[in-house]
């Protein structure tokens, strides 16, 4: 029994190939059925996002399965294998487990630490389990992957810093104002970038949005989207004292906002700081304003630098995350191995022997004058009881695992708490 993963991602395949291989949600149930019938996977699931297409499965023979999977994709997608075979990666067992844990923890993402992938993985799993394509191993595997992802997120700072220009603007604003809920944001110009940044600000608690634009109509429109108010373009300078954060992205060829506009505004607002964000190229705001006390000016390049810095930081955190993943891979492999028949039977015997030995000792100590022969008799009786009691469960799991079923093994392990027992023994011996 082996875990395998086969797929392509943004690193191995360009978007032209990825879009050809992607599985639409509606086609996945049928694909899962074929994976079971034609490829012979005991359990399977399909993860298909814009950055990756991956099939996870449980199989008996790793190499045969690989070829069958490639054939399956070729027929299902109606593509010659030569077109995509070079972009595929194929992992089994330890590597497969490691890969999936990394995917779940967003260590394999284009933007490391982005949060969507975990949700996508959960959906893919839900779909597969709804169609009864998953079983004991994939169920446990996925739940483990989700919990690894969660602990990576909480124990490292992988997702803590902004990695988009518009979010970096919010992050800087927080460093100036702290709480943003009572702040006012003004949009000068109604560009797309401005709108995106404004949306981030509103999501972070900003309630007041002012919009100004050369065409008042457009300003009105955008203001309505944010429940804000529109301002005539010719008047906006006189409103600067109300503004805490100003986002500018007009097509103006010369500076729109200069120190002489800000000086009276600052005075009027009792020198509470103003954060200016200039997203326009050519720039809208005179760089000299950054020298004024209480004015903080960031342009697109400055924000891009913040983003670059943050991405470096995420990469450092990713190294710490890899260490966490490695430990979890180890643990999961241990669990998989426990599903094998031989160690389970061995553990079962050891546990039962231990119990009978302990009980025997108790009994013998209360009858000190038994003869050697009588003692022997008692011992062999205990042994016989143990063996007879164990006979049925052992035959039961032996029979089932001949058909490749691991569930009975897992049930027996849980019934007798064999995992705890093994852990205990390991702790004692180390």
């Amino acid at each position: 029994m082996n875990i395998v993963t086969l797929g392509v991602n943004h690193k191995t395949a360009p978007v032209e190939i990825r879009e050809c291989l992607a599985f639409a949600e509606g086609s996945i149930p049928e694909a899962l059925q074929q994976l079971q019938q034609d490829v012979g996977l005991q359990e399977s699931m399909i993860l298909s996002t814009c950055n990756r297409v991956e099939i996870y499965g449980i199989c008996e023979d790793v190499e045969i399965t690989r070829n069958k999977l490639v054939d399956f994709i070729g027929t299902f997608k109606d593509l010659p294998a030569a077109q995509f075979a070079d972009s595929l990666y194929y992992y089994c067992d330890q590597e497969a487990i490691q890969h999936v844990f990394q995917v779940a923890s967003s260590l394999d993402s284009m933007v490391i630490g982005e949060p969507q992938i975990l949700g996508q993985l959960k959906e893919a799993y839900a779909l597969a389990s709804e169609h009864k394509a998953t079983g004991l191993i994939l169920n446990k595997f996925m739940h483990r992957a989700f919990s690894v992802a969660k602990s990576v997120r909480t124990r490292t700072k992988i997702a803590n810093s902004a990695v988009s220009v518009s979010f970096a603007a919010v992050e800087m604003a927080r460093k100036i104002f702290g709480d943003l809920s009572d702040k006012t944001v003004m949009l000068v110009g109604a560009g797309e970038m401005c709108e995106l940044a404004a949306r981030h600000f509103v999501n972070q608690g900003v309630k007041k949005v002012l919009v100004t634009n050369r065409t008042y109509q457009r300003a009105r429109q955008l203001a309505d989207e944010f429940d804000g108010s529109a301002i005539e373009f010719k008047d906006f300078h006189s409103q600067l004292d109300r503004v805490d954060v100003l986002l500018s992205s007009t097509g103006s060829p010369s500076y729109l906002i200069k120190p002489e506009h800000l000086a009276p505004a600052l005075k009027k607002r009792k020198h509470r700081p103003i954060f200016l964000i200039d997203i326009a190229v050519p720039r809208d705001i005179d760089p000299a304003t950054n020298n004024m006390d209480g004015i903080f000016l960031y342009d697109v390049d400055d924000l891009q630098d913040v983003v670059t810095e943050n991405i470096d930081h995420r990469k450092q955190e990713a190294e710490r995350a890899e260490a966490l993943v490695a430990i979890e891979v180890e643990k999961f492999i241990h669990w998989l191995e426990s599903l094998q028949l031989t160690p389970t039977i061995k553990a079962l015997h050891q546990m039962a022997d231990e119990i009978s030995r302990q009980e025997l000792e108790k009994t013998l100590s209360s009858f000190p004058d038994l003869s050697k022969k009588q003692q022997k008799k008692l011992e062999s009786m205990a042994k016989a009881i143990v063996n007879k009691l164990l006979h049925q469960p052992i035959t039961f799991i032996k029979e089932h695992s001949e058909y490749g079923e691991q569930l009975p093994v897992e049930i027996v392990r849980q019934m007798y708490k064999l995992n705890d027992f093994e852990q205990c023994k390991q702790d004692k011996s180390s």
């Binding site: 460093k175 100036i176 104002f177 509470r272």
Partner: protein
């Protein structure tokens, strides 16, 4: 024997403060709840040892122990640690310790370098007004030291934001607004204490020396300091002084405090001489 127990307690406190200070520095480079907890426990532990030493000295000498330079420095350090613990517990400002605990440590270290045996007190110092005057003054001074530390933090953070340097320090320092607000809070509590310190001092002076105000250097300088802070508070309340301007003034104000507290005694002479002089 007693003397050595006292210095042992102080050494323990100093060691705790030093390690706490180091834990504070470590947090600039990497935050973890472990170091932050360690810092908190070390400063708390240091404070308890220090307080015990202070009580010991009080009991030993029979008078509120601020009569020598050694005792005064130690007492100021004790107030700094206490006020820091209080502020850091209520305000939750990250890495504040890295900016305050060095002052606490240096003050106690200096105090230990000039440690002395208990000496008989001049009769003027055996008064209930002494502890009252000193407690108000030192509580005020320690709060204004916080204002100064927060001012330094503000100036650094403001500089980092203006010059767009996204360093570790930038990430750890709190927002400008939080620093400014807390600095204002410390000022508005510290200033009344400073005022009460001067008033009680003047009442005590009238009882001990027969006049409320005699323009000796310490009195003059404390008045200058008081005016500086009065101006800062007034500017904050009425003229919208905040941010950088307020931060710079709070640093200047604290320099004046340190001069009033130490410079006057070490450089000028007057009625307020410590027993050692």
């Amino acid at each position: 024997m007693m003397f050595s127990s006292y210095s042992l307690l102080l050494t323990g406190a100093l060691l705790c403060y030093m390690l706490g200070m180091l834990a504070g520095f470590v947090q600039i480079y990497r935050t973890s709840t472990k170091t932050s907890k360690a810092e908190n426990w070390l400063i708390t532990g240091g404070f308890i040892l220090h307080l015990t030493a202070f009580a010991w000295r009080f009991w030993e000498s029979g008078a509120f122990p601020v009569t020598t330079l050694h005792e005064s420095l130690s007492c100021f350090s004790l107030f700094l640690a206490g006020i820091y613990l209080w502020i850091s517990r209520t305000a939750k400002v990250s890495i504040l310790g890295a900016f305050i605990n060095p002052l606490t440590t240096i003050t106690l270290l200096w105090s230990m370098l000039i440690i002395q045996q208990v000496k008989p007190h001049p009769p003027a110092l055996k008064s209930l007004w002494l502890p009252v005057h000193v407690i108000f003054s030192f509580a005020g001074n320690a709060l204004l030291a916080m204002t100064c530390g927060l001012g330094i933090m503000y100036l650094i953070q403001e500089h980092l934001i203006k010059t767009k340097r996204i360093s570790n320090l930038f990430k750890r320092l709190p927002s400008l607004n939080q620093l400014d607000q807390l600095s204002y809070t410390c000022l508005s509590i510290g200033f009344p204490f400073l005022t009460l310190g001067i008033i009680t001092g003047s009442i005590w002076a009238s009882l001990a020396w027969g006049s409320y105000w005699s323009w000796d250097p310490k009195e003059t300088w404390s008045l200058i300091t008081w005016f500086l802070y009065a101006a800062l508070l007034h500017g904050r309340l009425n003229s919208g002084w905040r941010g950088k301007k307020a931060a710079i003034l709070s640093i200047i104000g604290f320099v004046a405090i340190m001069f009033t507290f130490l410079g006057v005694n070490l450089l000028l002479s007057g009625l307020h001489a410590y027993g050692a002089h």
